[in-house]
């Protein structure tokens, strides 16, 4: 079975790619105006800028409107089950460090059902990027409150509001050990693309929370474009300070909020022994 482990020829580095080289051309199922179009565009631009060819990139996701993204890119992809994208990405990156692994998904996928993988991915610090398209709603299932939904947002399933304090993904990420934490906005694809390139290149687990409006179930989010502003808050190394800062923030400051210097998990080592050596451990001196 050894050939299954053979890495295929890696294309020349520093090729010049255009954003469209990263598009599959498939027509998104997204509603017209959905913020996720902006995230898709940013990812395409960022990868073109980053300069690795599409076949060396794997987009991994869970389930949700946002999680449909891998199908729209010309890279390899893995559209798994709800909430488990980070685990899939972890197994992939740990065995194939030569690939660029980017996990994407929504706030429901990542903070609700996937919450445990989120905190442990931060802690594990595998060298990959996680992009959450946060629209503060379960879009795909037609509008229920997610962990980031405001407590008073009215919906069919929670008339008058769910009444719970929203989950703060950035604070939890920093407290849990993510090595790079930023906030982007789907309405600013250039800024977001820059963040993505920066995050990909930063060693360890990088997390970008993207404000990405759901125009269908949260049309009021179209006002986000007036509320976002660049953050001047970026903090390096001091995660206590960074967490405090993020907890105090209103949630609309964009940019890098934290950068750490933890070394990511190392790739597997070269084989030191053979299976025959292992077998010898069982042999009795006959």
């Amino acid at each position: 079975m050894t050939d299954t482990l053979t890495q295929s020829t890696t294309a020349e580095p520093h090729c010049v790619y255009a954003a469209k080289d990263f598009s599959s051309g498939a027509h998104p199922v997204w509603c017209p105006g959905c913020g996720d179009y902006g995230v898709l565009a940013s990812l395409e631009r960022a990868l073109a800028k980053h300069g690795r060819p599409p076949h060396e990139v794997v987009m991994v996701s869970g389930i949700g409107c946002s999680s449909r993204l891998p199908g729209y890119m010309s890279t390899y992809g893995f559209h798994g089950v709800h909430g488990r994208g980070l685990a899939v990405g972890t197994g992939l990156k740990l065995t194939r460090p030569d690939l660029e692994v980017i996990v994407v998904g929504g706030d429901g996928d990542g903070y609700s059902i996937g919450g445990n993988h989120f905190i442990h991915a931060c802690r594990r610090n595998v060298d990959m990027l996680y992009v959450v398209m946060d629209n503060r709603v379960y879009g795909m299932t037609k509008g229920q409150p997610s962990p980031t939904t405001e407590p008073d947002w009215d919906s069919e399933i929670a008339p008058g509001g769910i009444g719970l304090r929203p989950f703060n993904p950035l604070a939890v990420a920093i407290a849990s050990g993510a090595n790079y934490v930023a906030r982007g906005f789907s309405g600013d694809p250039n800024g977001l693309a820059d963040l993505i390139v920066d995050a990909i290149r930063w060693p360890g687990f990088a997390f970008i929370e993207v404000l990405s409006p759901c125009v269908t179930f949260r049309p009021e989010q179209m006002h986000w474009k007036k509320m976002v502003r660049p953050s001047s808050l970026s903090i390096e190394q001091d995660r206590a300070a960074a967490t405090a800062l993020v907890l105090g923030d209103d949630g609309f400051s964009l940019g890098v909020l934290y950068r750490g210097d933890r070394a990511p998990v190392a790739p597997p080592i070269k084989p030191q022994i053979s299976v025959a050596d292992v077998e010898r451990e069982f042999a009795l001196r006959a």
Partner: protein, 572 residues
């Protein structure tokens, strides 16, 4: 009387060293050229509870726990009684105990076995030795029994050294002294315990869990995602450093959802991958199992079965996850389910499972059980290996979009590695078209369901479907750890003139219909023996019309292992 085998129990409270005593006896006997089998019994306590090692030594291979034990050695008497039901003794049994440890408790004494008092703690031990060893008399016991069965002192001393090789010199020395005292004491006893001489050959000493791990390594597994769970933990604990040294990796997930999805991620990347669990963890994995079916990502799931449902009895055996393995997961999610035929066969079955998973691009479940997994046994070196089967990586031209899930005559379609230019594809768990894009029409849905079903339906395990022994028109059909006692029952019945045919299934699903029909041909009675309440395999085989409705079922839950006599007495 010539003796070809003996069954010995070392029992005591946790910390008494019962396990080490058993391990030393087994290893010394194996080294001398005997076959042997050791299983372990624990109480609920993590430490300080009762524990016992059950050791059989024989000049022939052993694949079953015995009906009864010949020798019961009490290292102390605290709580040992709780095991009485699990350690059958009778009037012919000999109970060795230190009179200073108190009287034989009723639960043991009621066997009417002969009690032989032996003073085990060394009155001449130095203070240091006592300090190092506590009141432990386990090495004395091991030496005593070893000498009684006829092992030579140097084998016993070497075994003790091997078992304690990670301990300090003080402990090793104290243990050696204890063993020597036991050996010396044996000379003072007259017991019919001496074994016929062994037939030495090159052999392996291995547990079922290690054997699964080895088979997986042979098959090419280089990634394991797991989460600790009894009785599967020692499998991954053994595997972890070996995988690392082989250039692979074992990752502890935050839970089973993580570990199985990590496994899928690694498999997608081209690394043969495995997850290892037991019932509760397996239940958590079935959603992702369905994903692997739909997205056609291969992986091996090893379930070391324990007594269920729910948390059940974590440390004890049962075969009650058959239903889950075959039928667990929503939707039509066909997969391959197999079970090892013996401890030795754990190697073969695991290696074969990897090949089947990789070549069919499908999940394969290996149903081991605690009785196999945590049995340490002497086997002939495993050199017969299944022919390697590989994942189909290419064979088509690049395309945009590349049709990963192409519908054609061969339901197994190329699965290029990420990193290969021109074949970019998305592993997709939604109903998808040939290119892997989500689709919601009936056409794509039915086509892809048929594609996957065909892979499984066409799977022909050839000689790996299972095994048969004997020729009678009464058939005992079994799987996993139940095969050993069934074979032993057949041997005994044959000795008394009853020919019984044993049919051992390796592949439980899809049922190998033709091979099984051949194996059953001419059968007048078919008896399916399994260790669960629901007769899960029996109903599965009836439901698949693989056996006639007149077939009989012998099904009972764990945690007690099937005894050969139990099966034999049902058959006649």
């Amino acid at each position: 009387m010539a003796r070809t085998s003996i069954a010995v129990v070392f029992a005591g409270s946790g910390g008494s060293g019962a396990m080490s005593a058993g391990a030393v006896l087994l290893r010394a006997a194996a080294h001398a050229g005997y076959y042997g089998l050791m299983t372990q019994l624990f109480g609920a306590q993590v430490r300080g509870g009762e524990s016992a090692s059950l050791v059989q030594v024989s000049i022939d291979p052993i694949e079953s726990q015995p009906d009864r034990y010949d020798l019961f050695v009490a290292l102390d008497w605290e709580k040992v009684e709780q095991f009485a039901a699990e350690i059958p003794l009778d009037e012919a049994s000999v109970i060795i105990a230190d009179p200073q440890a108190g009287t034989v408790p009723a639960g043991i004494a009621k066997s009417k076995g002969r009690v032989v008092p032996v003073s085990m703690s060394d009155p001449a031990a130095t203070k240091l030795e006592r300090g190092v060893q506590g009141r432990r008399v386990n090495m004395f016991a091991a030496g005593l029994v070893g000498a009684l069965v006829g092992l030579n002192p140097s084998d016993l001393q070497a075994a003790a050294e091997a078992v304690f090789s990670d301990k300090g010199a003080d402990i090793i020395a104290a243990n050696a002294k204890g063993a020597a005292a036991g050996i010396a004491a044996a000379a003072t006893l007259t017991l019919n315990a001496r074994l016929d001489p062994p037939k030495p050959a090159a052999r392996w000493l291995i547990s079922g869990n290690q054997a699964i791990a080895l088979g997986a390594l042979r098959g090419g597994v280089r990634f394991v995602g797991c989460y600790p769970i009894t009785p599967a933990t020692d499998l991954v604990e053994w595997l972890a450093p070996h995988l690392t040294a082989l250039g692979g990796r074992l990752v502890l997930g935050e839970d089973e959802l993580a570990s199985v999805n990590m496994t899928l991620g690694a498999a997608y990347g081209g690394t043969p991958a495995m997850t290892v669990t037991a019932g509760p963890g397996f239940s958590l994995m079935v959603e992702t199992l369905g994903l692997a079916v739909a997205a056609e990502v291969p992986f091996v799931l090893v379930d070391v079965m324990r007594a269920g449902p729910s948390t059940g009895i974590a440390s004890k055996t049962e075969q009650s996850d058959v239903n889950l393995a075959i039928y667990g997961a929503h939707g039509d999610a066909p997969r391959v389910v197999m079970a090892p035929i013996s401890v030795a066969d754990c190697i073969t079955t695991a290696e074969y499972a990897v090949y089947v998973a990789e070549s069919l691009q499908t999940p394969v479940i290996v149903l081991s059980d605690q009785a196999l997994g945590q049995a340490t046994t002497v086997i002939d070196p495993s050199d017969k290996r299944p022919p390697p089967l590989k994942r189909r990586l290419n064979g088509v031209a690049p395309a945009t979009p590349f049709k990963r899930y192409a519908i054609g005559t061969d339901p197994v379609t190329p699965m290029p590695l990420p990193g290969t230019p021109g074949f970019e594809w998305v592993a997709e768990g939604l109903t998808h078209n040939e290119a892997g894009l989500p689709a919601s029409g009936a056409g794509a849905h039915v086509a892809q369901i048929n594609k996957r079903a065909k892979k499984i339906a066409r799977f022909d395990p050839g000689p790996y479907w299972g095994e048969t022994w004997g020729e009678g028109d009464t058939v005992v059909l079994a799987f996993g750890s139940t095969i050993g006692p069934a074979r032993e029952a057949a041997r005994r019945l044959a000795a008394s003139g009853h020919q019984v045919r044993i049919v051992a299934l390796r592949v439980l699903s899809p049922v190998p219909m033709e091979a099984l029909a051949r194996a059953l041909s001419g059968a007048r009675r078919i008896i399916v023996v399994e260790q669960n309440h629901g007769a899960q395999l029996y109903h599965h085989l009836i439901g698949q019309k693989a056996i006639p409705p007149s077939a009989e079922s012998v099904a009972r839950p764990g945690p007690l292992p099937f005894r050969p006599s139990e099966i034999a007495s049902y058959v006649v």
